[in-house]
């Protein structure tokens, strides 16, 4: 018997609100299965389980906000018989204790003196543990994950939807109906906050970045990289591909960075307890700017071993899920380094701030045409400004320079990526 606990999805996370269980007591779960959805500062995240077994007892109900580390359910190992109902470690959440209200005052025999009631201090209410109400809207909405995603994609406010499914559950059909109804309604300015709460996201970024600047002695390196070969290769490669399989330069950047990290492993991992812990695998945290503000950098697992087509599919999928909700807990906890690419409308250079406890962030600016010296003459070349911000506790500038040189070298042979 083991506990499934509220995971920490980042150095800045203290608590999460359970949105829904996707598994029921008695369900068999495999390692990596998504068992619950939890609302965090980074939006609704699908929580995976890292142990196989049978879900036994649910200890936290939807709508409850619990600190990181709180047991949310118990898990029986495969084959183990159901344990006899143990003495519950805490009051069952289904039945929060009745607030111990003071007994009603006996009817006064004489009319009370006419004083404003504020003057008499009210009897102190005993503190009562009650589940926190749903963070937004104050109503719990029964909704399937597919419908939730569709609603988020359409920016529909769940609290305002009427469900026609079992027990009033909101179905996909309800979402589509609401979307149709909205088209005829006048626009109401900004869509209500779905996916993530911008203010909470801001606080999460503030906490992580302030910690980074307070604790991490950053060093910075930049290098300008000629992209003529890479872009020529990309253009030819995309000519034969349907739009769904076309590559963006970002896929080349991620692949080159991941491959280069094999040569400089001390930039791939975490600084913890005054020591460097190398990452198990090269999991690139891909920085995604969210529409309306905010930033999230979920993991592309084993990026050095994925083909460019697989990387491109992963990038598109992550951007989609970062915006509509549906990122998985492992995607938030696993990145071993962050890569940020500003794309075609960004600034020319970005010099990042490390996301702790990672030890490095690699930046790619906007691709621009620059005068470039070739064989003693001037040419015009598409170039990108490549940068590294790294933790000086974990590595020195010389090693950082080797990483940038290796990324540059790999980008000169795009066909080999």
């Amino acid at each position: 018997m083991s506990a499934f606990v509220m995971p920490s999805l980042g150095a800045d996370m203290e608590a999460g609100t359970l949105v829904e269980w996707l598994k029921r007591p008695g369900d068999r779960v495999e390692r990596g299965d998504v068992v619950a959805v939890v609302d965090t500062q980074k939006g609704a995240i699908e929580i995976e389980i890292f142990e196989a077994g049978v879900l036994d007892r649910i200890l936290v109900q939807p709508g409850e906000k619990v600190p990181v580390g709180t047991a949310m359910a118990t898990l029986r190992s495969n084959g183990a018989a159901q344990e006899p109902e143990p003495a519950p470690p805490q009051p069952p959440p289904e039945a929060p204790p009745e607030p111990e209200r003071p007994p009603p005052e006996p009817p006064p025999e004489v009319p009370p003196p006419e004083v404003p009631p504020e003057i008499t201090p009210p009897p102190e209410q005993p503190p009562v543990e009650v589940p926190e109400p749903e963070a937004k809207g104050g109503v719990r909405v029964r909704i399937s994950p597919a419908a939730r995603r569709r609603a988020a994609a359409l920016s529909l406010d769940l609290a305002r939807l009427r469900g026609t499914g079992p027990e009033g559950a909101v179905t996909l059909a309800d979402i589509e109906a609401a979307a149709v109804a909205r088209v005829s309604a006048p626009p109401s300015g900004r869509a209500p906050g779905v996916g993530f709460d911008p203010a909470a996201m801001r606080r999460a970024i503030a906490a992580a970045m302030a910690r980074s600047k307070r604790e991490i002695p950053h060093y910075y390196l930049t290098q300008t990289v000629d992209l003529r070969r890479a872009l020529t290769w990309l253009e030819a490669a995309n000519r034969d591909r349907p739009p769904t399989e076309r590559l963006l330069p970002a896929a080349l950047f991620v692949k080159a960075t991941a491959r280069a990290l094999r040569k400089v492993p001390e930039l791939n991992g975490f600084w913890e307890k005054d020591a460097f812990r190398p990452g198990a695998g090269i999991h690139i945290g891909w920085a995604i700017a969210l529409r309306g503000g905010g930033l999230i950098a979920p993991a592309i697992h084993d990026a050095d071993r994925k083909s460019l087509a697989e990387l491109m599919a992963a990038l598109r999928d992550l951007v989609q899920r970062a915006r509509t909700g549906g990122l998985k807990s492992s995607e938030l906890t696993d990145p071993t380094i962050t890569v940020t690419s500003l794309g075609e409308r960004g600034a020319e250079t970005v010099i990042g701030i490390i996301y702790p406890p990672q030890v490095a962030i690699v930046g790619f600016g906007r691709i621009v045409e620059h005068p470039w010296a070739v064989d003693g003459a001037l040419a015009v070349r598409p170039v990108v400004s490549l940068s590294l911000a790294a933790d000086h506790r974990a590595s020195d500038g010389h090693r950082g320079g080797l990483l940038l040189a290796e990324i540059e070298r790999l980008l000169q042979k795009p066909e080999a990526l």
Binding site: A191, N238, T244, A289, G292, R316, G343, R345
Partner: protein, 82 residues
């Protein structure tokens, strides 16, 4: 399909990419990427969605013709023969 229907499909596709935008106020001759804060990934998704909805092949070299609403509608009309 009429031109009006085609325009609506293009607008709906943009609405999926920039759900917060007021598309009724989108200047039809201006660069979509600037007006809707669309990055390269969004633009690729725009092309993919049009390709899937309309069955039109849109090579990368034609992307510059699709950067305004009017331009995209004219390009797709031409491709679809309407």
């Amino acid at each position: 399909m009429t031109e009006a229907e085609l325009r609506q499909i293009v607008l709906d596709t943009l609405g999926d990419i920039a759900p917060e935008a007021d598309l009724a106020a989108l200047p039809p001759g201006k660069d979509l990427r600037e007006e809707l804060d669309i990055d390269s990934m969004d633009f690729l998704n725009f092309v993919i969605a049009l390709h899937e909805k309309l069955g039109v092949d849109i090579p990368e070299s034609d992307y510059p013709q699709l950067v305004t609403l009017d331009g995209a509608v004219a390009y797709l009309r031409n491709k679809l023969g309407i």
